[in-house]
Amino acid sequence: MERTSPAAAAMLMYRRDLVLAFRHWDQVAQPVVFFAMVTTLFPLALSPELGELRQLAGGVLWVAALLAALLGLEFLFRADHADGTLEQMLLSGQPLALLAVAKGAAHWTVCGLPLVLVSPLLAISLGVPTGALCAVMLSLALGTGILSALGAIGAALTLGLRRGSMLLSLLVLPLAMPALIFGARAIDMAIEGEAARGPLLLLAAMLVLVLTLAPLAVGSALRISAE
C-alpha cells in the first residue's frame, strides 16, 4: 500500500473543495454579488460626481471587499464538521497544517479571487484612473489573502458554536484593521499618482506573517473544536 504524500494530499483537498464549491453556485456568487452591489450603491447614496467618488474609492472598495470576503468564511469548515468529513480529515494521518493551507487556498480561489477580478470594473465606476487599477487589484489580492488566513483561524475556533458567525466577525475584523488601513492607503496613493509601493510591501509582509502562523493555529483550533 502506497501512502499519499502530504503534498499530494493537500492538492487533493484543494481540488475537492473547489469541486464542492462549484456544486453550490449560490455560495460562490454571493460574495462577488455583495461586493458589486455595495460599491454601486455608493454613487447613488453620495454623489454621481466622479471627482468626489474618486476620493472615497479606496475606502469604499476595501470595506466592501472585506465584508464580502467575510460572508464566505462561515462555510469554510462548517459543512465538513456537520457531515463528519472533518473528523476523517483530522484522522487521515496527514499534517493538519498543510490540509488547512489547502482548504484556505481553495477558499481564497472561490471567495477572494473573484473579488480581485471584478475590482477593476468597480474601481472604474468609482472614477479610479486606469493607471491606479494595478494597485487596486494588487492591494485587494493581498488583502483578501490576509483575510482568508485570519478568517480560517476564526472559523476553526468558532466551529462548534451555535451562533458562531457573529463571533467570527468580532474575532476577525479587528485583526484585519491594519490590512484595511494600508490597503485603502495604497489605492489612495495610486489614485493621486504617487508610488504605492510602501503600503503594498507592508501588506505583503502581513500576508507572509499570517500565512506562516495561521496554518498551525488552524490545525490546533480544529483539534479543539472536534473534541
Binding site: 500500500m1 501512502r3 464542492l20 463528519g84 473528523e87
Partner: protein, 182 residues
C-alpha cells in the same frame, strides 16, 4: 485494556455508558482525563500523524459528502490516506453491493447504503486497526452478515478491530473479547 493482532474487542454497555467516548479517546479525538493511549508502545500524542495512518475510525456520522457520488466520496476521502485507482474503488463498491449506486450522490442513498459506503471507506483505507462505532446500525440482515465476514477477513489478515455495538457481534472464525463499560 489492550488489543493485539487478530484481536476483536466488543465494547459493550447500556446507552450513555461511554462507548462512543471510549472509542473517541482511543482514536485520539478526545483527550482522556486519566490514563493514556499507546500504539505500538508509544503514546499516541507523540506522533499523531503516524498513529492516524495506522487506524481507521467509523463514527456515528458516516463521514461522507452528500454532494459527492459514492465513487467520488471514496476517491477523495480515502485518497487523502493512500494512493487509489478507480478499479480498486469499483471492486470495493461491488464487494459491498453498491455497484448500482456508484454514480449516485450520497445524499440520495438510504441510511443502510450510506453505512455500507462508509464501511467501504474503512476497507479501502487498509489500516491495521479498525475502530467501529455501531457499524451494524441501519444494515439489513445480509448487510450484517457481509460486514461480519469483512471484519473476519480483516482479522484473518492480522488486523485488529474494536467494535461498539448493542448486540454481541458474531464474527465468523474468531472469538470476540468483551469489554463491559457498565
Amino acid at each position: 485494556m489492550d488489543a493485539a493482532a487478530s484481536d476483536c474487542v466488543h465494547v459493550a454497555g447500556p446507552n450513555g455508558s461511554g462507548k462512543t467516548t471510549f472509542l473517541r479517546v482511543i482514536a485520539g479525538l478526545l483527550t482522556p482525563e486519566q490514563g493514556s493511549v499507546h500504539w505500538q508502545g508509544r503514546p499516541i500524542a507523540s506522533d499523531r500523524d503516524a498513529y492516524g495512518a495506522s487506524f481507521c475510525y467509523l463514527g456515528h456520522s458516516d463521514g461522507l459528502k452528500p454532494e459527492f457520488t459514492s465513487h467520488e466520496n471514496l476517491a477523495y476521502e480515502v485518497g487523502l490516506r493512500r494512493r487509489l485507482d478507480a478499479a480498486m474503488i469499483d471492486e470495493t463498491l461491488a464487494r459491498l453491493g453498491l455497484e448500482q449506486s456508484r454514480d449516485q450522490p450520497a445524499r440520495s442513498l438510504s441510511a443502510g447504503q450510506r453505512r455500507r459506503l462508509s464501511m467501504a471507506r474503512v476497507i479501502l483505507a487498509g489500516a491495521p486497526l479498525w475502530i467501529l462505532d455501531e457499524p451494524f446500525t441501519n444494515l439489513d440482515l445480509a448487510g450484517v452478515n457481509l460486514l461480519s465476514e469483512v471484519i473476519a477477513l480483516h482479522l484473518d489478515a492480522g488486523g485488529a478491530a474494536l467494535l461498539a455495538t448493542h448486540q454481541p457481534p458474531a464474527i465468523p472464525r474468531h472469538a470476540v473479547r468483551r469489554l463491559d463499560l457498565a
